[in-house]
């Protein structure tokens, strides 16, 4: 499907460099950080220029990509005709025209094929990719290995790359936002340049903690963080993804716990780390399922050219799960089937030689597959991978770490919650979506929906400015997951990209506010717009972007495009699967909640009278090094969703769409009733588009107006409403009591088990050990006696004899240099004489 080519090598080099430069910066700061200028001041510029260089390289890569694969409108939907007939035995099949697909969908497809809508279907001009499956559709993607760590027939561990337009796009996005964040952090972290007295940490002595600044350390963490994230994006196989997955985790641990002396920070860091581990266990299980049955973790095919010129293609995950000869439709791979039918394989192997057995097994596989064998393995793999993504992307119930992660410095929050860590989960879900069965997709969709509603409701009542944003992040991530779950592959990832821009903008703005106010509490802010115009207006842009504001049908902020496409996909899904209508309502309702919470934040912060004079009088606009990134990001938050003719994020993403996913998917049954995941092209239909746009605008407007009524115009007293709905308010304030549940379910029982183990240790194991120790002592005492009397005695006799001899010989050692020389001379002459006497000749002449 994809093999290395010149373009691939170029991209791999460019992106590989962009990936490694932050590592270099990390190493440089790690070793020489404190020496970089006073207090390591220049470390910031090292890190910033490193990530800036990465950004530049990524841009070049993007340009290279666009030149080679211009994202023009394509004769979409033709892929459907080209795709081979699905295997009848497969439990999942792409919906066929007029088949199981409902009439509605058929109409959408027909509309879509009229060619007036956005790009859809397969991109067919991936001229560079060598097609391995004859006329089979291809998508431009390149993969390869830089370095193989370990290689065996059943496992290849390597450092490799898998590059398609998604990779390139995410590189640009990540490095761009990271660059902005770095620049911003240069200003934000100024106070780390000198010694810091941390008033939030009280020492045992009663004083406050006084520590040296950790300026270089911060940028060192940021660099490593960027490196790890880029590693996930560029990774060519799941093993590598896992490595960098964990690196991202550890980086977040470093950075969230930057002020690790604070209990809250270290706890938050630990929480983030541990909760992520929970998800990672799932990921590991998923990887095991894939590796154990398929023997590879590579995304793409690996082509090995042997010395005799023979090419050996080792299929990667994508082509195993969606083989080209099968029209890229999802089917249970042979390996999984065999693994599931191990008892039958064993019985075949028992009676035949190896070759015969292999042939027989191969012959039996389609039959077994038809029996549904092994499909559970694929579901497990998908669920496992998604489990990992839940941890990283903070999906319910693993979302608990993210709000606490606000303990980290704001630039870290901005990076973690927009471009890097949480994006990793969505990215991996997107990357692996060809592997997901409808059951898994349903799980994803529901988890996403729950998450988005839950987080959005909590965000309504939070008073900590960063927590509001954090919950809004969780909510938006829910949107993305929902989109991916209901088949909106492009929509979900599109939202990932646009969200990255405006969420980082929002976080940096909030950081600017916090920097100025020295508090996170929105109840002490208000009326800051005059004092911080840049921050205020850019934050307004961010809020408008996140609620998807815009002039309907004309133009809008970036969020409006991505969110509309998510809603559209949800709506299509609802129409095809009416029983899952709740997903659509959740998505639509979430818009209003988001709008309310975001504008609640903005109004409380920037509008009205200052609530706390003490805070307000010290407020000032942040320095340019902080505001410039804000302005840059706000521009991006506006325009990121626009497309210039065929050029746009969505079309680029369309190029990266995994093979076979354009057609939608029907099936299920293991976990849910059979569902049909509609093709994404269907959501571009005119009426859907209209309905969605109106809904989104209306809900968002409602949210904004409500917020304005509460907080700007003060028509309603929020406190009164809170009192009125006291139980609900409390419930939300406690974040649906998730932390308490966790504590009750996991932490308390763990303590109990630990106490039990400790008692066991003391009462039973220790006495046994003590007994053995006592016995050893007794033995040693006997041995010591032997040593003293027998062995030492012998040695002493020898020694005293030597001593006596030495005493006699020492008289020769006069210590006089000249005498020694004399001895030498006399000795030489003596040897000569002796030689001449013995051999009868003077020297050894000729």
């Amino acid at each position: 499907m994809e093999v290395q080519s010149d373009l691939g090598a170029t991209l791999a080099t460019l992106l590989g460099l962009a990936w490694l430069i932050p590592l270099g910066s990390f190493a440089a700061i790690l070793f020489f950080g404190p020496k970089m200028g006073p207090h390591g001041r220049n470390a910031a510029w090292v890190a910033t220029s490193a990530i800036g260089a990465s950004f530049a390289l990524s841009l070049i890569a993007l340009g290279t990509w666009m030149v080679s694969h211009p994202p023009a409108a394509v004769e979409h939907a033709s892929a459907q005709h080209q795709s081979a007939q699905p295997d009848d035995h497969s439990p999942w099949s792409p919906p066929r025209d007029g088949g199981s697909v409902s009439a509605t969908f058929a109409r959408f497809a027909a509309d879509a094929s009229a060619g007036e809508s956005h790009a859809a279907g397969e991109s067919r001009h991936g001229h560079s990719a060598h097609a391995t499956g004859g006329d089979a559709p291809t998508k431009p993607a390149y993969s390869g290995d830089w370095y193989s760590l370990y290689s065996s027939p059943t496992l290849v561990l390597s450092i490799g790359w898998y590059i398609d337009s998604l990779t390139v796009l995410l590189f640009v996005m990540v490095t761009f936002i990271a660059t902005c964040t770095h620049v911003y952090a240069v200003g934000y972290m100024q106070n780390e340049l000198h010694d810091i007295t941390d008033h939030e940490v009280t020492l045992a002595s009663g004083g406050h903690l006084h520590r040296p600044g950790r300026y270089p350390r911060f940028f060192q963490g940021l660099s490593l963080f960027c490196f790890s994230m880029l590693g996930i994006v560029i990774a060519g196989n799941l093993a590598m993804v896992f490595v960098f997955w964990e690196l991202v985790g550890i980086c977040s641990w470093f950075l969230i716990g930057f002020s690790f002396e604070r209990t809250s920070a270290s706890t938050a860091a630990n929480k983030a780390f541990i909760v992520n581990r929970v998800g990672d266990v799932g990921l590991l299980i998923g990887l095991m399922a894939l590796w154990g049955s398929l023997g590879t973790l590579h995304f793409g095919n690996t082509v090995t050219v042997h010395a005799d010129g023979q090419q050996v293609v080792r299929p990667g995950l994508f082509s195993l799960v969606r083989p080209g000869e099968h029209g890229h439709a999802l089917q249970v791979p042979d390996g999984m089937v065999v693994a599931a039918a191990s008892d039958r394989v064993a019985s075949i192997a028992a009676g035949n030689s190896a070759e015969e057995a292999a042939a027989e097994v191969a012959a039996e596989v389609p039959e077994w597959r038809a029996m549904g064998m092994g499909s559970w393995l694929l579901v497990v793999a998908g669920l496992g991978i998604f489990c990992g993504c839940m941890g990283k992307s903070a999906q319910v119930p693993l979302h608990v770490w993210l709000p606490d992660a606000m303990e980290g410095p704001t630039p870290v929050s901005a990076l973690v919650h927009s471009a890097t860590m949480v994006a990793a989960g969505v990215y991996l879900t997107g990357r692996c979506s060809p592997l997901f069965t409808p059951d898994v997709l349903m799980v994803i969709a529901y988890v996403g929906a729950i998450t988005l509603l839950l987080a959005a409701t909590i965000a309504l009542v939070c008073t900590d400015i960063k927590r509001v944003l954090a919950y809004s992040t969780v909510s938006q991530l829910g949107y993305m997951m929902l989109a991916l779950g209901v088949g909106g592959w492009v929509a979900g990832l599109f939202h990932l990209v646009t969200h990255a821009f405006f969420k980082s903008l929002l976080f940096l703005c909030s950081g600017s506010v916090i920097h100025a106010c020295h508090t996170n509490d929105m109840r002490r802010m208000g009326g800051l717009l005059k004092k911080m115009p840049y921050t205020g207006w850019t934050m307004l842009v961010g809020c408008l972007a996140i609620i998807g504001a815009g002039v309907p049908f004309v133009i809008g902020f970036s969020g409006s495009y991505s969110k509309d496409s998510i809603l559209a996909q949800a709506l299509v899904f609802q129409r095809i699967n009416p029983s899952h209508a709740v997903l659509w309502y959740a998505a639509a309702g979430g818009t209003a909640l988001t709008a309310f919470s975001m504008f609640r934040l903005w109004f409380m912060t920037f509008v009205g009278e200052p609530r706390d004079e003490h805070v307000a009088e010290h407020v000032h606009e942040s320095p340019a090094v902080m505001t410039v990134p804000l302005v840059v990001l706000s521009v991006m938050a506006v325009i990121a969703g626009w497309s210039l003719g065929p050029l746009g994020v969505a079309t680029l993403l369309e190029q990266a769409r995994p093979l076979g996913t354009a057609d939608g998917l029907t099936g299920g049954g293991l976990l849910t009733a059979a569902v049909t995941v509609p093709a994404e092209a269907a959501s571009h239909a005119e009426d859907i588009h209209f309905l969605v746009t109106v809904t989104a605008f209306a809900t968002a407007a409602a949210g904004v107006l409500l917020a304005a009524a509460f907080y700007a115009w003060r028509l309603v007293n929020p406190a009164a409403i809170a009192a009125l709905l006291r139980p609900a308010h409390t419930f939300l304030e406690h974040g649906w009591y998730f932390d308490e549940i966790c504590d009750w379910m996991f932490v308390k029982p763990t303590y109990g088990i630990a106490a039990l183990a400790s008692a066991n240790d003391r009462r039973i194991i220790d006495p046994i050990v003590h007994f053995f120790a006592w016995a050893s002592r007794q033995l040693a005492a006997g041995d010591a006696w032997m040593d003293r009397v027998v062995v030492d005695g012998l040695v002493n006799v020898l020694a005293s004899a030597t001593w006596a001899t030495g005493l006699r010989l020492r008289a020769i050692q006069t210590g006089h240099l000249r005498q020694y020389v004399m001895f030498i001379v006399v000795g030489t002459v003596a040897i000569f004489l002796l030689a001449s006497i013995m051999f009868g000749t003077m020297v050894a002449g000729p």
Binding site: M822, V825, T828, V829, M842, G845, P846
Partner: protein
Amino acid sequence: MSSSVASLLPVLAAAEGGLNWQGFLFLLFAVLACSLAVAVVVADNVVRMSFYLVLSLGSTAGLFFLAGAEFVGAMQLMIYVGGTLVLLVFGVMLTAQEPFVAIKTPVRDKLLAGLVGGALLAVLLQAAVSGPAWSGSTAEGGNAVASSSGQPSATPLGMALLGVRVDGDVASGEQSPADGQVRSGYLLPFEIVSVHLLVVLVGAAYLARSKRRKSSGGQGGGASTGGMR
């Protein structure tokens, strides 16, 4: 004049008759070198000793030139005479205080040394003259230096130090490596010596480094060595 000198000391007689410059210069340098070496032994004053030593070594360099080893000769002048002896003179100067310039040796020691030295000399001389093949140059008279300057010795030396032997055919006859041994270059010894020199210099600098001494209170700070650290 030539005949008279030649009859006086036939060692000066060249193969083709007339005064042999090689012989003359050899005699000159040899006598100078030996007598100055003896002067080193006899002299009491250290500075004079070093002065004689310099001249003796210089004369030896002359002998090297005569023997066709120009590079070695120049090296002798440069390193031995130039470097080593300046170093030595430094040391002499630093310690050249009245009581130490001349430290008298007991006569008994001198006699004993003369005796032992004489014995050694006898042995060595016997060895030197007992090898018939070692004597008797067949050089074609004339100026040895002039005749040798035709065949540069510095280049093969340098090549040898770099590990390449270009004089393989020089060794012929019975001394040739008949047993199949190939004469190897001196790259390894060269490197060893260079490292050795470096180590020695560091070591010397360490030994003679300036030390901080805390002499215990007394203002003299002189004889006590206990406070060294």
